[in-house]
């Protein structure tokens, strides 16, 4: 299920206001997404890596996440060079790979890794609950915030219920095969899970109504900006401007 492996450190990044982190992670992602030049992209990757270093994260965990992303990117490396039009580099039979395709794949790879690393360092370092409140303070629509928080809360309960159902099936000798009995059992399990989730939602709503819920949520936490936040914001703004300037002025053709 959802684990939060990056939240328990006490680094410079962890001490930053979650709002600052959220805003910069978003701005930075956009800034990196519009880059096309390799020097700027390389710098972006370096900056993101620097953020991960600053957050003192477990490299193995970070590596695992990068591996997931890069597995997906492998498909781009296969598909894009073969389908993109341009100057051919090599050909296998009737199919040829193009230079433009390879470059595009490289750009996408650098961008996605830089963005993911920055998100791990800035966003995955705060608990989801805190993140929800930061979003609330940043005027993200309440419904989205509470959808996020309630999903996070009950996804565990629903998982437990799923495990309970699976166990109930297993102890009576159920083992999945490729037959209609297995499909029917899974259909029942999933159906039952929906029924229980919906009954649970009903009870949770009743419990909330009993405590005076009238459709509006109030937020308990208050955030305040420190000097550290201001200094780090200045650095991050400088970094973003720096990247965009690199993009404009240093071009390799």
């Amino acid at each position: 299920m959802i684990t939060e492996p990056f939240i328990n450190e006490n680094s410079l990044i962890h001490r930053l206001d979650p709002r600052v982190r959220l805003v910069f992670a978003t701005l930075y992602s956009f800034a990196v997404a519009v880059l096309n030049q390799f020097p700027a992209l390389a710098w972006a990757l370096f900056l993101s890596f620097l953020l991960v270093l600053l957050a003192r994260l477990n490299f193995r965990e970070v590596g695992r996440r990068l591996a997931m992303l890069n597995t997906l990117l492998l498909f781009f490396w296969v598909a894009l060079p073969l389908t993109f039009e341009g100057e051919p580099i090599f050909s296998i039979g009737p199919i040829s790979a193009t230079r433009e395709g390879v470059l595009l794949s490289a750009q996408i790879t650098l961008k996605s890794n830089a963005i993911l690393l920055a998100f791990i360092a800035l966003v995955a370092t705060s608990p989801l609950a805190t993140l929800g409140h930061a979003m609330n303070r940043l005027c993200v629509p309440e419904k989205i915030v509470h959808l996020l928080l309630l999903t996070y809360r009950y996804v565990f309960v629903i998982e437990q219920e799923y495990q309970r159902l699976i166990r109930a099936a297993k102890i009576r000798g159920f083992c999945p095969k490729t037959d209609i009995h297995t499909y029917r059992t899974y259909a029942y399990l999933i159906g039952m899970l929906f029924v229980r989730a919906s009954a649970r939602a009903e009870r949770v709503h009743q419990a909330m109504v009993c405590r005076g819920f009238k459709g509006k949520f109030y937020c308990l936490s208050e955030f305040s900006l420190t000097r550290l936040d201001v200094i780090c914001s200045a650095f991050m703004v400088a970094a973003i401007i720096g990247l965009e300037m690199l993009e404009w002025f240093v071009k390799i053709t």
Binding site: P127, L128, A129, G132, L149, L150, Y152, R153, Y154, F156, V157, R200, R203, V204, Q206, A207, M208, V209, C210, R211, G212, F213, K214, Y218, C219, L220, S221, E222
Partner: protein
């Protein structure tokens, strides 16, 4: 003659059945709860105990009859909003009650709904947690608490609103002895009225003064709760609730 203004809950000929020709659960139920009364409610599974509690809170509409709470007849959702500020319901499953990411937020939820400021809500919540010996739990993540901790935390979420009546739906189900003891001591230190639905006679005899039974859609007064106990000796009818007319042997 009981003075009317001492009546907190007063139900007259209340009926309830599930819609579309469903089963009749409550039939001409009459019930009174007075100030300071501590009542245990027993009855078979499916006899309507939870339905009864939900009707008091306005979660289910009655099919017929009159429900008066604190002297006023309650009928509409608007009436019940006022009721919910004065009566607290502890749900059977703590997972239904605790929905916020952290304990503190969940405890503060009701207070914020009542219009308290975040600072005030935080202060009161911390105080309540401390009273329940849950100091240090405020930033714990609710879904990671143990069963007993969840129960105590959900009790805190209800008590923090300072209800005048507390309704507890099988509060001890699945709890260990130590947690039960903690709940008993919390209840014994409360000077408000409460109704406890439970199947545990020992628990009821230590927390309530009177016992009622729910049967055939009605509530019947049984008497003093001291007559309820689990038998440490055994005889044929030891597991069935019964009275010793000559007092405990």
């Amino acid at each position: 003659m009981v003075r009317e203004n001492n009546l907190i809950i007063h139900m007259q000929d209340v009926c309830f059945s599930y819609p579309y020709g469903g089963q009749t659960i409550l039939e001409n139920l009459n019930f009174k709860l007075q100030k300071g009364e501590k009542l245990g409610l027993i009855g078979h599974n499916g006899s309507g105990k939870t339905t009864f509690l939900h009707i008091i809170m306005g979660l289910l509409p009655v099919s017929a009859g009159i429900v008066r709470i604190l002297g006023n007849e309650v009928r509409t959702e608007k009436d019940f909003r006022v009721v919910r500020q004065k009566i607290g319901l502890l749900f059977q499953h703590a997972d239904d009650q605790l929905f916020s990411p952290t304990v503190l937020e969940d405890v503060a939820f009701g207070l914020l709904n009542l219009g308290k400021s975040p600072a005030e809500a935080r202060e009161l919540s911390l105080k309540t947690l401390e009273q329940l010996n849950l100091k240090g739990f405020e930033n714990r993540v609710t879904h990671k608490l143990s069963g007993g901790e969840k129960k105590l935390a959900s009790l805190a979420t209800v008590l923090v609103m300072q209800p005048r009546v507390l309704l507890l739906d099988e509060p001890t189900t699945g709890l260990d002895e130590a947690t039960k003891e903690r709940i008993i001591s919390v209840l014994n230190n409360l000077d408000i009225s409460y109704i406890i639905v439970s199947h545990e006679y020992d628990f009821l005899s230590r927390t309530t003064n009177d016992i009622c039974t729910m049967k055939d859609g009605q509530i019947i007064y049984n008497g003093d709760s001291s007559m309820l106990h689990t038998h440490y000796h055994s005889h044929k009818m030891g597991k069935v609730s019964h009275e010793h007319h000559n007092g405990p042997i």
